[in-house]
Point group: C3
Chain length 344, copies 3
C-alpha cells in the first residue's frame, strides 16, 4: 500500500561514498552509487548473470561491477561488459530515475517515463546560506503510515517526548486541520506558555531569554507520498508569534521524509532546518544529537503499535479531531494509490 | 489448546511495581498494573485510540494512561478521559478478572461472568509463618503441556538433574498414578536410599545428619488448568517417611504454575515452599538460586523436544506407566477444553 | 532438491568425541556418535519415547542414552533398554548407514539397503604419508547448488578473492568443460603469469623462488551428489605446468564436500590436501587459517545471492561458458534426482 509513481528520499550521498549502497525501497532491492561523470545512479541490486547483489561489488570508471564474476553494469540497467563475454544480448535490469538534490538522493519507484524532477518538493531551506540543517536516519519496523499519523498529531509529544518538547498545552490548544489539494495542514498555536527544555535551548542559542513566557506554534504539512514538514518555533509572548520579528523568535522546520521499505518497515529521514546561526557546526551537531535522542523515543512505540495492529487486524483505529491530519493524509494517499492502480 | 475459563498465574506484583507490565497469556495481550485504591487490574494491552500498547504508558491516579496520546483507561476497560476529548462513546476494551493472592496475580482468561475467586487453589503454605517460600520465572518456548508431562514424570530427574536431585532409585521405585476427579496424583516412595546433593543440603539446613540412609518421597499433584504441586522430602530411614516426626524430616512443596503464552510458548512460575526455617532469608535465597539452576536444566530439553515434535507432527508420543501422570492430566485437560468449547 | 541415495560428508570424528552430535542433513535430524566397539553410528535424533533429541543425551557402553528419561537406543534404531520398562515392542527409529573413512563420517541419507560403501569416492591423498591435509567447516544459509556453481566457476576468485588467489588471468584464460559420465571437469591453464599471494606463499613453502613467472592450473572435478575436488597449482613457467618435475612445482587439491542441510542451507566442509611438506603441522595450520579466511569471503556473497533468488523466484540465471561447469553439474543432479524419485 504505497504510491509508486513518485519521488522518495532514498539515501544521502555519504551513504555510498565508499561503496555501492543496497537499500530496499517500496519492496524493491535497489543499489545506489555514483556513475560516470559523478552523477548518482540507481539500478536493481541484482546481477542478471547469477543474481548476486551489486551492492557487494564496486565501482570502476563509473560502472557498477558485480563482485562475484565481474559483470559491469551501466546506469541504464544495460550490461556494459564482462571479462571474456559479449554482453550485448545479456538481459537488462531495471534502472530507476534518481535525482541528487538538497543533500538527498530522490528515487522514482514507479514508471520511469513518468518521472519528472520538477515534482520533487521545493525545499527553500536547503542549499540556502540563511538556514542550517542537520539530520539522521532511522530504520523502523512499522507501516510508514503509522509515522505519518505520528507526525500529523503532535499531541503525542506530551507523552512520548515529555522531557524535551512535550508540554501539557499541546493537548489543550485547539488544533485545525485543512486540506488544500493534496496537501494537509495541521496547525496549533499555544500562546503565553512556558517553553519546554528543547525550546529553552533554542532560545539561548538565539541569544534570547529562555525564562519568559512564549508563544509556540506547530504547522505540520503533509504532501504525498509521505513527506511531513513541520514549521515549529517559539517567540517571546505577545511579539506576534510566528510573525514576530527575528530578534524575538527561534524557529525551525522539522524535516521528515518517510520512505517505505516493505509493508511493515520504513526508512525515516529526520532532521531540523533552522533559520538561526546557520553556520554554527557545533550547534548543528548538538541539535542533531538532541533531535536524534528525542525521535528515538518514538521507535519502540511505533514498533509495538505495529505488532498490536498485526495481532488484531480486524480492529479499526479511532479517528478523533486530533487524528484529522493523519486521516486526511491517508485519504489522499488512498485516492492516489487507487488512481495509480486503475490507470495502470 | 488451552483452557480459558480458569485462573492462571500471570505475574508477581513486583513485576509491575514500577510501571505497567505487558504479558501475553493464552494468546491475549494483557497489561497488569495497580489501579485505584491499589488493587491489581488487567485489561487488554491495546489502546482503543490507535492500538498502542498500554504497557508503554504509565499510571496516574490509578488510571492507566496511554503513553502515546494520553487516553486514560479505567480498570473495567472503559476509557475514562483523554485531553480535549469526550470519551463516553469511545470503544471499550476487554478487562480481565484478576485476583492478587498468595503473592501471585491470578488472571481469568475466559468469560468474565464465570470468574469465581473461590476456585483459585488453596495454598496452605502461602501466607503462613510456618512456611518459607522462594521462586522465579522462566519463559520457555514450548507447549505448556510438555512441562506438565515433565513434572508428572520425575524419572527425568535421574537424567536431566543427575548432579542435584536425580538418583538411580527414582527410575527403579514403583510409581503409582491415581485420578481423583480433576486431580491427578503420581506418587513414588524410595526407602533406605542415599540422599542426593540437594537433599543432603536440606538435611543440613534442618540440622539433621546428611550421611545416613533416608526414605524419600515425591507426590505430584496436577490440577487444571496447569498447576503441579509436588510434595517432596526425605526422612532418616525407618522413621516413618512422609509421616516421620519433624526432627527426622526435611520436606517441602515444589510449586509449578504453568501459564500458556502461545501454543508453543509458556511462562513457568517455579518455586519451593519449605516447612523448615521459614524466616531464614539467606536459606530462601540459597534454595532459590539452587532450584533456579536445576530447573534451568530442563529448558534446553523442552525447547529441543518442542522443535522435534513440530518437525514430526504425525508421530505419536509413547504412553508408558511412567507417563501416566502426564497422560491422565492431558486427558482431563482435553475433556475440559472440549466441554468449554461445546458449551460456548 | 537433493539426492538421497548417496553418501554425504556429515561430520568429522572430533565433533562427537565428547558427546553425541546432532546435525540436520537433507532435512533429516540425525545424531552421530561412537557406538559399541567404537564404530560410528547414526540414528534419528528423536527418542521414540517423548520426542526428545538424543543429541542432548550421552553414550553408555556404546548405547545412545536419551538424556530425558533414559531410554537406551541401539545403533540399528531399536530401543535396547529403559529403566523399569520392557522395550521389545517400543517403536523403532530410523538408523542411517554410516562409514568413517578418510577422516570424515559419510552418511547415506536414502534407502539403507542400497548403501554401498564402495561408492564412497576414493581420495588418494587421504591416509597417505605423501600428503598433508587441513580443513574446516562452514554453515551457510544457501542452496547447496549455489556452492557447486561457485566452485565450478573459479572466475569468481578474481573478484571475491582478489587479494589472495584471484588474478586477472583467470578471467582471461580459456576454460574447458567436459562431461564424463557423472563427472564434470572444468579446466583452466594460465601460462607465464605472476603467482598471486597465496601461491607465492606456497612456492616459498616448497623452497621455490616466488618472484618468477609461473604456469598455473585449476582442474575442478564435480561428482554427485555434491563433491568438488580441485587440482590447483603453479610451476615455474616453461617447466611443464601440471606435469613439471616436483622441484619446480607447488600443487594441492582443494577439497569441497557440500552437504545440504535444508533447501536453503548447507554444511560446507572445505580443506586443502598438499603434496609438499605433508608432515609440517605448522604449515598445515597456516594454510588452514589462510584458506579459512579466503573461503569465508564467499559466505556473504552466497547468502545475499540466495536472498535475491528467493525474492525473484521467477528469474532465470544466465548460463555463460564460464557457468558450464555448474550447469552441467546441475544437469547431472537433476537427472539423478528425477531417476531416484521415479524409481521409488
Amino acid at each position: 500500500m504505497y504510491l509508486k509513481n513518485c519521488w522518495y528520499v532514498a539515501c544521502t550521498p555519504d551513504e555510498f561514498a565508499e561503496k555501492p549502497l543496497g537499500r530496499k525501497i517500496c519492496g524493491e532491492n535497489i543499489v545506489f552509487y555514483r556513475g560516470k561523470g559523478g552523477e548518482v545512479a540507481a539500478v536493481e541490486d541484482y546481477c542478471p548473470h547469477r543474481g548476486a547483489p551489486f551492492s557487494l561489488g564496486y565501482i570502476e570508471d563509473g560502472l557498477l561491477v558485480c563482485g562475484y564474476h565481474g559483470l559491469k553494469m551501466d546506469s541504464d540497467g544495460k550490461p556494459a561488459a564482462m571479462p571474456g563475454q559479449r554482453t550485448d544480448r545479456f538481459p537488462c535490469i531495471r534502472s530507476y530515475p534518481v535525482v541528487e538534490r538538497y543533500g538527498f538522493v530522490w528515487v522514482w519507484t514507479g514508471k520511469a517515463d513518468q518521472a519528472d524532477a520538477s515534482s520533487i518538493p521545493v525545499l527553500k531551506w536547503a542549499d540556502s546560506p540563511d538556514w542550517g540543517y542537520g539530520g539522521g536516519l532511522y530504520h523502523i519496523q512499522c507501516d510508514y503510515r503509522l509515522m505519518i499519523d505520528n507526525l500529523m498529531d503532535l499531541t503525542h509529544e506530551t507523552y512520548v517526548h515529555s522531557t524535551s518538547i512535550g508540554q501539557k498545552e499541546i493537548d489543550e490548544a485547539p488544533v485545525s486541520t485543512v486540506v488544500d489539494g493534496e496537501t494537509v495542514i495541521t496547525s496549533r498555536h499555544m500562546d503565553n506558555v512556558t517553553a519546554p527544555p528543547f525550546w529553552q535551548m533554542a532560545l539561548r542559542a538565539n541569544d534570547l531569554a529562555d525564562d519568559v513566557a512564549v508563544d509556540r506554534w506547530q504547522i505540520c504539512r503533509f504532501t504525498p507520498p509521505s513527506h511531513v514538514l513541520i514549521e515549529v518555533g517559539v517567540a517571546h509572548a505577545g511579539r506576534g508569534g510566528m510573525n514576530a520579528a527575528p530578534q524575538y523568535r527561534a524557529n525551525s522546520i522539522v524535516v521528515d521524509f518517510i520512505t517505505p521499505e516493505t509493508e511493515t518497515s520504513m526508512w525515516y529521514f529526520w532532521g531540523m532546518a533552522r533559520q538561526f546561526k546557520p553556520a554554527d557546526v557545533e550547534l548543528t551537531d548538538s541539535i542533531r544529537e538532541g533531535q536524534g535522542r528525542i525521535f528515538a523515543e518514538d521507535l519502540d512505540m511505533l514498533e509495538c503499535q505495529q505488532r498490536n495492529l498485526l495481532q488484531y487486524p480486524e480492529r479499526r483505529l479511532m479517528k478523533l479531531n486530533i487524528d484529522a491530519g493523519g486521516v486526511q493524509s491517508r485519504r489522499i494517499l488512498d485516492r492516489l494509490i487507487k488512481a495509480e492502480n486503475t490507470i495502470t
